[in-house]
Symmetry: C2
Subunit: 221 residues, 2 copies
């Protein structure tokens, strides 16, 4: 019985106090009734989907300030604590303005994930993954990676071996340095993002249809 609720003291109203949970703790299960949404106060959360055949898809990681559990009705994924310890704030649905902000945050995270996973080569995926986390953890050169390699693999649609090899490759190319398995330093951010093919949004807003006619047929691979 690993439910976070055990450790939570309920309060009247929509907002609950921040509560602690340890590594491996399950905050909610896929298919549970979705009564709450959450915001990460500290630590890292992963959301996972288990297929009937046992295969697993990690659908995302949530860092400080990010939200999860915004499904309505029933949770489609499970949420588990990745870091040694995490602190999360629990919300009831209710305050519309607040709810909408939460939903939008979730949407943004998911959109990013698709752009990440859709990448072609393994090296590009891992590079983009690191670049993405760097941004989301507010840009320090030191990137915390509390999740095991298997989580990264199941997130990017790769195997642990390949993920490991790509980290080694990035080290060999002097783009990153690893202090420990779960602490990475970005040495050459520019080349890393080039590898990642970061879409730095150079497409101008507004009436860009002149640049990209609607019937364009060929895109680079």
């Amino acid at each position: 019985m690993n439910y976070l609720e055990n450790a939570i003291t309920c309060m009247k109203g929509n907002v609950f106090p921040i509560s602690r949970a340890q590594k491996g703790a399950v905050i909610y299960h896929q298919n549970d009734l979705a009564r709450f949404r959450f915001e990460v106060a500290a630590g890292v959360i992963r959301t996972t989907y288990l297929f009937a055949d046992g295969r697993r898809q990690v659908t995302g990681f949530c860092f400080e300030g990010e939200v999860f559990g915004t499904d309505q009705g029933i949770y489609k994924t499970s949420a588990e604590v990745v870091s040694e310890t995490a602190r999360v704030r629990r919300f009831c649905w209710g305050d519309s303005a607040e709810d909408e902000r939460a939903l939008n945050k979730s949407l943004g995270l998911l959109e990013n994930s698709i752009l990440l996973i859709g990448r072609r080569t393994a090296l590009s995926r891992v590079a983009a993954f690191l670049a993405d986390i760097r941004l989301r953890t507010k840009g320090s050169q030191w990137i915390p990676l509390p999740m095991p390699r298997a989580d990264i693999a199941d997130y990017l649609g790769l195997t642990v071996e390949t993920v490991s090899r790509m980290f080694s490759e990035l080290r060999r190319k002097r783009l990153i340095a690893q202090l420990e398995d779960h602490l990475v330093q970005i040495i050459d951010q520019e080349r890393l993002e080039a590898l990642a093919g970061v879409g730095t949004d150079e497409i101008p807003p507004g009436h860009a249809s002149d640049n990209f006619p609607p019937h364009r047929t060929h895109y680079p691979r």
Copy 2:
């Protein structure tokens, strides 16, 4: 100037009349100011993200009754008409209850997409893609695929050649039949979904932590 707005007559209030748009029409561009959200009344829409290097990620397809353009602030993707013609209903942000429903629909679509794209083999991706569309177009054996193969490829992270080969493979295995390039019949739904590895949610809700202890380490590949 392919903007849908040209064809739209504005009305006071939040809801606009349903408007028509032809194949290839751009409803909004990536990086445009996000003033509206949309619901598909007929036809098919695709949302795409263009990287700076010209590569393209199709982030989703929207069928009748589904919503798109729920980004807040700035559209992260472009939305284009895929089918010969489409009809979309435009909404302003405002009615909180309605807004929340729209956001939730979008969220569900994106979550599904991640589960689709995360699959390992090409055959599994295409099979899951077809199974998914069958569900979303309300279960007829006849599946409309108005989008070109290139769109499917850019959606699943494959190449057109591979997508084409997988369709042929599915035909050879007698799982599907193709009347034309863009109309597919599912012959053997069961085996198709088996290939897709459809997660038919056999994991019981509630306190399932006994079945899936938090520290489980090995998952099938």
